[in-house]
Symmetry: C2
């Protein structure tokens, strides 16, 4: 067992940074000490001795004594430059910034490889749930077929409130914001962007797939109404904002979408601000991991675990990226969706492969139909705020045939 | 990345062994080939070429070409001798035999250290759920405070049937046996022994504690009746057979007992033959892992993952055992329990610290009281088949005081 005592330079001293300091001063389990903390506002009153603090990044980045840079700031652009420079200077880096990582994955891989220094980011996906490490280390064979999950706590909180307390979307969002679960720009959460960043990172470790966030569909929950929630309840289901990554042969499809979740799906029991991930593999069947996905403590826990891993020389091997050289991203995935609309004209009907159910009333109307992911990704109408779209199921060729037959029989 | 192609010698060719062969022949992800398979019955018809098979253990154990011994036989005594000899001969070993491992943990640690060769046994605890690897690698700091879980699929299946379909114990047991979920000797499952072996292994990786199975209390589910199940239902709870490991300061208490599980505990959603584990740590809050705990596929998946880990030179570091040299096993843990009885004489009343509730009727009677784990472990009456005991909560000193006060006020 080779254990090093690491010297840390921290950027940012908010809740996570302070929690990290508390834990490191208490625990004997992790051989790491904080050398310097770079902050933005030198005038704030701090709980630590002033000697710890600096406003000059170079006091960390150019200090040869510091082995590890821990990036804990809000601004993902500034964070990107810090992480990049730290890697170039040969320092190990820990970050939980999903936007930064998802948007620069390819470059960050290159920098790690070129400068032979690790970047760990367990905290970027589902907070304290050890998603990335498990995908890297435990599911490192090619039998994984599907990853799905609830990756955003604030939308899950909102949907739980809509379902269980009958709150409408705006009230539920306000409550989430009051409790501090929502990002300052709510569209990041409710529009499914935050979940999408996490999905993109997950796809790399699950399947060896690199995909840029802008190529992945995210339909958020902002257009959902109590009509949709009632429809789900009547069908004994829950609506959850679910990330999906699905492998069929060498093709991986992926997207974020409100999804009907039935009672036998473990994701249905993920309530309020909690997160959950469901893995399906040929041999291990279903595996479910649940826990707190965001907040300073869960994120701090993941950051701490990354620091601990660095003391043992751990780095991501990206085995699946190297093994699965043939996988490719595909939007040729047929989906069965529920679409609620007010005016017929807002829906682009020729985008559908078929419609199997149609309900019309004065108050609202909906259809159940099948449509290619590609179509939803291309079309503006899918994000129209007078339409809500919820996934019913991911279809494959065979299921499509059956569905077609049933439709023809029914019509 | 240093990857070796491992040569495997397998003992046993039942479902797990055959599944393993299938997967290894399909996947490119794992660099391992099967060299030889040692079996007991040479006359059985096999799906593989006869050249693979031998009935002579030395053809594997004395073959210098074979790097890894995979032990997949039923008989834990025979398995022990195979594993021991393999380690002595410097071979890496993979096993999923929880009885063998729990009963010989200390010796197996010593052998690994002396002969500098790894023994991996992820499949021994909760089948495909990556419990041990996560405890080793992810929770490797001293912040973990509690581990609890449903570690036995057949008892969970029985309890699910009793609760959801109103079956009585014997019928539910028969159904579990018919479905192949129960061990041939049902007492191993229903008496909580199987769960206890897994708990002992888990305690080592969670807290660095070595404890012999015979020193750990296991109360099974064989005495539970529909009265107990109804009591739970009325209180909006479920009865589950739960393993508990709890850290207070440097003291670890541990036991297996039927437990009232409330609706907000993720273990309540572990149904039928599934397993689940719940970790509580100061920083990460609650973490839940669920999946299939037994059966050839989930076990095979864990064995496969161990083989894969060996190709990357992985071994358990037993960090917590080395770090936490002060932890000790304690039975001085106060528990709040529900005890149902038919005759007053069968309960040893002076073993209780206090009784807070008492219900008496012609059909049955019960009390709620607090009692030290030590007392339950010592006393024969706790296993009397006319008594059923279900844990309500784990108390600590402060709670005890409050309880005492409430009782005095109430009496």
């Amino acid at each position: 067992m080779s254990i090093t005592t690491l010297k840390l330079g921290i950027f940012g001293f908010g809740c996570v940074g302070q929690g990290l300091h508390n834990v490191l001063s208490k625990t004997k389990g992790i051989n790491a000490t904080i050398e310097k903390i770079c902050i933005k506002h030198p005038d704030k009153i701090r709980s630590l001795d002033a000697a710890y603090f600096t406003t000059d990044p170079s006091e960390i980045l150019d200090n040869p004594e510091i082995d590890v840079v821990v990036e804990l700031i809000d601004d993902s652009e500034a964070a990107y430059h810090i992480v990049k420079e730290a890697l170039i200077k040969g320092k190990a880096v820990v970050s939980a910034n999903k936007k930064l990582i998802a948007e620069h994955l390819e470059e960050l891989l290159f920098l790690q490889s070129k400068h032979k220094t690790p970047l760990l980011y367990e905290g970027s996906v589902c907070g304290s749930i050890p998603v990335i490490r498990n995908l890297e280390e435990y599911y490192d064979n090619d039998l994984l077929s599907s990853v799905s999950g609830i990756f955003n706590g604030s939308t899950n909180y909102i949907l739980s409130k809509m379902r269980n307390e009958g709150l409408d979307f705006d009230l539920a969002l306000k409550e989430a914001q009051d409790k501090g679960f929502a990002e300052s720009d709510p569209l990041l959460d409710v529009g499914g962007f935050d979940a999408k960043y996490k999905l993109c990172i997950t796809l790399l470790h699950a399947f060896g797939l690199l995909v840029r966030p802008e190529n992945v569909l995210n339909i958020g929950i902002q257009n959902l109404s109590d009509q949709d929630v009632n429809y789900a309840t009547q069908n004994n289901q829950n609506i959850k904002l679910v990330v999906h990554g699905q492998k069929q042969g060498q093709h991986i499809s992926a997207f974020v979408m409100p999804t009907f979740v039935s009672a036998d799906n473990p994701l249905t029991n993920v309530h309020n601000e909690f997160n959950g991930i469901l893995l399906e593999s040929a041999f291990a069947n279903q595996q479910f991991f649940g826990g707190k996905g965001a907040g300073s403590d869960p994120t701090g826990s993941a950051v701490l675990s990354d620091i601990s891993a660095l003391t043992y020389g751990y780095k991501y091997e990206y085995k699946k990226l190297h093994q699965n050289t043939l996988v490719s991203y595909s939007t040729q995935q047929l989906l069965e969706v529920y679409v609620r609309y007010q005016d017929k004209e807002t829906v682009q009907w020729d985008a559908f492969q078929n419609i199997s159910q149609r309900f019309e009333s004065k108050a609202y109307s909906y259809v159940i139909g099948s449509i290619y992911l590609e179509q939803l990704l291309q079309e503006e109408w899918a994000l129209n705020d007078r339409i809500s779209i919820v996934l019913k199921s991911i279809l494959d060729g065979e299921i499509l045939e059956a569905t077609n037959k049933e439709i023809h029989a029914a019509l």
